[in-house]
């Protein structure tokens, strides 16, 4: 029985590792300017976690195999080095490992979150509400008109609660249901939650940020590859949560200008 356990365990451990090694299911291809340290951190962590996983499972299997059929009269033995050795090993090996992961991980994080957006980053506002994203481009004046919560109305298609009759800045704002951005241009995404918590997750873009009601946050990023990607909500927001998504199209600057013009005409 112990041998079956050992063999099963080793099979499970190796079987679990194969899809990881073969990248059968793997993180999506990075299309962001900032994603590289994250991906490197991912591979690094995967290597260390994978080795820890395989080593401990196989060791467990070997020990179970080996020590489950003692000869009669055999005395029990202690692991060489005893508890002290193992504690020191844990501190040295795992301690340095996690410290390294922590330091490099913190650096990758700080590069993204603790650097301000460049002043000429393109501002786009995204509003999350049950169960759709809406986007707003400031238009030629470069200013977002103020939001009037009492005027927000799905019924009247006034998703942001804009008062275009009184607010000059709102007049040229362009509201869209899909997001388009020019490639290789930094985007400063201003996030606003209309009702409950939502999240903005574009795996390929390595961007993931919750919308916090009552607290307008922002993220900034640069997409480096043309294409159409999905923005999904990852913060449980109600019954339509699974279906809350929008498309993000990364366009060439010319296409983007054309698209924006077309959208402006539709307002």
């Amino acid at each position: 029985m112990a041998k079956i356990f050992a063999i099963t365990l080793i099979l499970i451990a190796i079987g679990s590792a194969i899809p990881i090694l073969r990248h059968t299911w793997w993180i999506s291809e990075d299309i962001s300017a900032h994603g590289r340290p994250i991906d490197e951190q991912m591979s690094e962590t995967m290597a260390e976690a994978g080795i820890s996983f395989l080593a401990s499972q196989i060791l467990l299997a070997i020990f179970v195999w080996k020590y489950s059929q003692p000869r009669p009269g055999e005395r029990i033995r202690s692991f060489p080095g005893g508890a002290t050795g193992l504690v020191i090993a844990a501190f040295l090996l795992v301690g340095t490992e996690v410290l390294a992961l922590g330091v490099f991980g913190a650096k990758a994080w700080a590069d993204i979150y603790l650097t301000p957006p460049s002043p000429n980053a393109m501002p786009i506002q995204v509003q999350a509400g049950q169960f759709a994203f809406y986007f707003r481009y400031p238009g030629p004046d470069g200013i977002f008109g103020p939001i009037h919560p009492e005027q927000v109305s799905e019924a009247n298609q006034n998703f942001f609660g804009l008062d275009t009759t009184h607010d000059a800045a709102s007049k040229d704002d362009i509201v869209t249901a899909e997001m388009a951005i020019p490639v290789n241009r930094e985007i400063h995404l201003l996030m606003h939650a209309k009702d409950v918590g939502h999240s903005f997750y574009v795996p390929e873009l390595r961007v993931h940020q919750d919308f916090v009601p009552g607290l307008d946050l922002s993220v900034h990023f640069t997409a480096t590859k043309l294409g159409k990607y999905e923005i999904v909500c990852t913060q449980l927001c109600g019954l339509g949560h699974y279906n809350m998504k929008a498309y993000l199209t990364v366009m060439s600057p010319e296409d983007f200008d054309a698209w924006l013009k077309k959208e402006a005409a539709l307002q």
């Binding site: 401990s56 603790l114 009702d195 449980l236 019954l239």
Partner: protein, 595 residues
Amino acid sequence: MHDSSAHAQVAHQAPTSFIRKHIFSIDHKVIGKQYYGLALVAVFVGMFLSWLMRLHLGWTNLAIPGLHLLSANGAPGDLMTPEYYLQLMTMHGTIMVFFVLTTAPFAAFGNFFLPIQVGAEDMPFPRFNMMSFWVTFAAFLVLIASFFVSDGPTLGGWTQYAPLSAVGQVAGPGQGTGVVLWAASIAIFCIGQLLGSLNFITTTLDMRTKGMSLWRMPLSTWAWFITSIMGLTAFAVLMPACILLILDHVAGTSFFVPSNLVLNDQLQTHSGGSTLLWQHLFWFFGHPEVYIAIVPGMGIVSHVLIANMRRPMLSHRVLVYSMGALAVLSYMVYGHHMFVSGMNPVSSIAFSFPTLIITIPSTIIVLMWLGSLYGSKLRINSASLFALGMISMFISGGVSGFFLAQPSLDILLHATYFVVGHFHLVMAVAAIFGIFAGTYFWFPKMFGRMMNESLGKLHFWLTFVGTYCIFMPFHYLGLAGNVRRYQAFVDDYTMSLLPVHKFITVAALTTGAAQFIFLYNLIHSRFWGEPAPDNPWQATSLEWATPTTPPPYDNFGGKLPVVYHDPYQYGVEGSAGDYVMQNSAEGVRGSQDEA
């Protein structure tokens, strides 16, 4: 202030009426069994809910025959609605975390065995103990009652993030009465666990028998003691949080609801509340809670393994210190649940380091287990198999923690199935394996009968392989960016993942079915199992030193044991057996832990 002479009088006389004996009993052993029974009911309810969820995820448009009987609104024409899926999911999480993973390893086994393992007749406040169970039971009923309100239970997930949980009905089905019942249930549950923790801590500190110094307590006792300290602080924070949540609902306050929310085109009247406040309060409880679930499992597994390895741990104290370190660190790491929540990014880094550091005590615990296996005389039986399985699960679930501890990787993995795989393995399955190990090991003492070993092993193999088949693929899904808490997968990039979901569903149904072997074994052995000897595993701690099996009303038949040794005197040469019991006056020279 609450002790009374009445306790002293009843402590020695067993009650005779059925109600005092089996229902409103103040005997810690009966209360322990009651908790076990509650957890058993809860775990099958929770598992049933997960079956429905998995069926729906694998085959979204499949009509599940008879589902409309459960909820006419939630499953018209036997087809599960999106909100009903989320309601089942929320109830699955809540029932499992609170009423299984907290009650079974901690409250059930702890109640039955902690007083016996320290050589006490009972807990110091038996009536609080009785109240603790019945309050917990009431909490369970309140939670289940939310299935029967018009729009069903809450759909907000077991974490109940505000403002979804706090704005009321307008946020969706179940967000009105459902949330209030949920929060009331959890607040009541907290009272029960606070009363339980009070008893556990006081028993450990004050009720130890002669010679039972702190370091002579078995590892399971240590684990329950450490857990009860965590429980005392964590539940004391969750309870006021739940009360504030209820007030936001019923009294119109704005603790968690900010201004200017527009739901259904209606501007909400709340103003100025902080949604992150709920997350801070919840996770300050929530992270210790996962250790409340797993630390007793660690203690139980150590206890079970030692008896089956026929040797003590490499170091008793290192294991205790490591569990203590987990408890202390568990309060400093909760922010890792909130890396992308909009919390200050500097806090994310500050929370990342303790989260990574917590792997050190966890690793030490695993290394102690592995190092103790080396050179042991391992016995293979259902109990030890589940204990070994728990170690394997804990390792598998633990390594994925390396990823989730880092905010930069959380960008990719937060709220994906990777997280679901991680916590299911490391706290849910590992804790459940601990419960199984404890059950196979202690059942003879609890019920006076042996469990069926062949069925136990069959149960182990199906469960062990099955759980890996369920939860390993979760990690792959998460890497591919599959978001959790979706009732169906409609994103383009998730289409290729559907076969994985179908595989998981089949594995979940099979593994779930295997649990009925356990249920059968449990019930059959309870009534028709072979009578158990007093010490079937030749173990050393005091629960095996009771005069009868199951132990008499006052545990030791009026004569409390005196303790001479450290808890695990195995591998003793020259003795009649290879072990010396804690209450045996036999001397043991050169024992490593005696120093």
